[in-house]
Point group: C2
Chain length 121, copies 2
């Protein structure tokens, strides 16, 4: 069964770019204007704005314009949705490893009676 969650598709796609991750990193410390976001990157303002649009489209970022300044802020709920998806999968992997550990421990304590009988011959 496919997991058709368009938001997760777009959130992961947005985070696959190191420039956009750097913007998310900056915005996690507080709101910033588009030009502030672009400052540490060697990127035109138009390119920064394009990345901001991608981050907005998937819900990771909100922005609003006052006068000529567009201010961006992060939406932690979108970060959380991606984090939760990963945490759920990892928890499942670890649960299965734990079960395997219990099974192997039980097998070690209780050896196969057939091979035991053979050894006694």
């Amino acid at each position: 069964m496919l997991d058709y969650a368009p938001d997760l598709d777009r959130v992961f796609q947005a985070l696959a770019d190191p420039g956009r991750r750097a913007m998310v990193e900056r915005l996690s410390r507080g709101p910033a204007s588009v030009s502030e976001l672009g400052k540490p990157m060697e990127m035109s303002l138009a390119a920064v704005l394009q990345h901001v649009r991608v981050l907005e489209a998937c819900g990771l970022v909100h922005s609003s314009k006052v006068g000529r300044t567009r201010t961006c802020s992060i939406n932690s709920a979108a970060l959380r949705s991606a984090e939760d998806w990963l945490a759920d999968r990892r928890a499942m992997v670890e649960r299965n490893l734990d079960r395997l550990g219990v099974f192997l421990a039980a097998t070690a304590d209780d050896p196969d009676p057939a091979s035991d009988a053979q050894e006694r011959r």
Copy 2:
């Protein structure tokens, strides 16, 4: 400063596809052959194998071939690296919101002495 972590680029890129997320979901419950991975999806074996290659390239999945069967298993460390990146960002957002809350509470308790003086006139 850009965050040049090629593995995260590839991990998030791999997870942006719902078919590959379904495979990760399946593998989080235990190892599976390529044909088992493809069974719930209307996809050719070649297409499934191509997705497996993407998941292997970013370290999310390991596979090994015995006879004609390629068996895939998940690498929870790669899931964890992406989860940790998201968790760190979200923790930063929440810390800043907490600080803002403390600041606003302090401001409410201690109103501006200048406006206070004006009110007393």
